[in-house]
Symmetry: C2
Subunit: 143 residues, 2 copies
DNA sequence: CTTATAACGGATATAGTTGTCCGTTATAAA
DNA sequence: TTTATAACGGACAACTATATCCGTTATAAG
């Protein structure tokens, strides 16, 4: 469904979001341990989130990664997915046709669009804040 | 969403199904032209569909590929997807956790399962016969 | 039986993704 | 100003998916 980069990115940003609400700044080492991901690769992943202005990085001693708290309810899962995988998940044809739309549909087009739109709605309506709140009321895992 | 192999496989089998209802046997050359896919690679794809007993191949002159007509309403899109991509699309975690289920869920698990189940239901309920019938009542494209 | 045809299958090439390594840059603390 | 720390960034390695090439096998027709 999503690329590995995107999967690590989702797990990482949710962990950072959670720690942000606890006023903790976290480093690469800690993130990769807590989400069980390869450290060097996770570094690239976090850089992409930083360059897309989704998270904030602080260099040097006592540095790390944070998310500005007021942004937790404006950053959605869809935002993160777009950073890594673009919008292909929302637009690309199920059977790989370059040009497939309601005017020139593949045989699966209309059934596919229905599911795709629901996925899109779910990802766009789910914010980091909602997920962090969920994690405070029940047990969820990131590794 | 699906692998390239799977995408070619879906387009190919729908084309073969359509031609089967017109009593036509089709060859590799024709299939790859009609679905706009690389010929040699499509050969591998069709071999997988043959070895999984989804389509039938006939070697030698006047050979080609067919689908036994009585099977058109028992072969689903899901069957084809499983041949190429297994059942990962139905079972794997959205954020890549090896062990993610309702007892040890990732933060997206329950929202994800909802969409996944709808996708599964759609793919499992869509038969080749339904798609071929659709193609007789409106214009659909395979390339 | 011979020939032409078309699927089959093994080997190899290419591309993209995932993953590692290591030196550089920024910066907080002493 | 020096030192230690942690993110950054470029190069490269490994792996997987995609794609091609070409000889082999089966078989229909003459």
């Amino acid at each position: 469904m999503f690329s590995k980069s995107c999967e690590y990115g989702l797990r990482a940003i949710i962990y950072i979001a959670q720690q942000t609400t606890l006023k903790n700044k976290v480093g690469l080492q800690e993130v990769s341990e807590e989400i069980n991901s390869p450290k060097a690769f996770t570094s690239k992943v976090l850089s992409r989130l930083t360059k897309s202005n989704t998270i904030t990085s602080i260099k040097g001693p006592y540095g790390g990664f944070i998310i500005e708290e007021h942004r937790l309810d404006s950053i959605t899962i869809s935002d993160v997915v777009r950073v890594f995988d673009g919008d292909s998940i929302y637009t690309s044809c199920g059977m790989g046709l370059k040009k497939c739309n309601e005017n020139a549909p593949c045989p699966l087009h209309f059934k596919f669009v229905k599911i795709r739109d629901e996925l899109k709605a779910m990802l766009e309506s789910t914010t980091l804040k909602m997920l962090v709140d969920d994690m405070n009321t029940a047990l969820f895992f990131l590794k």
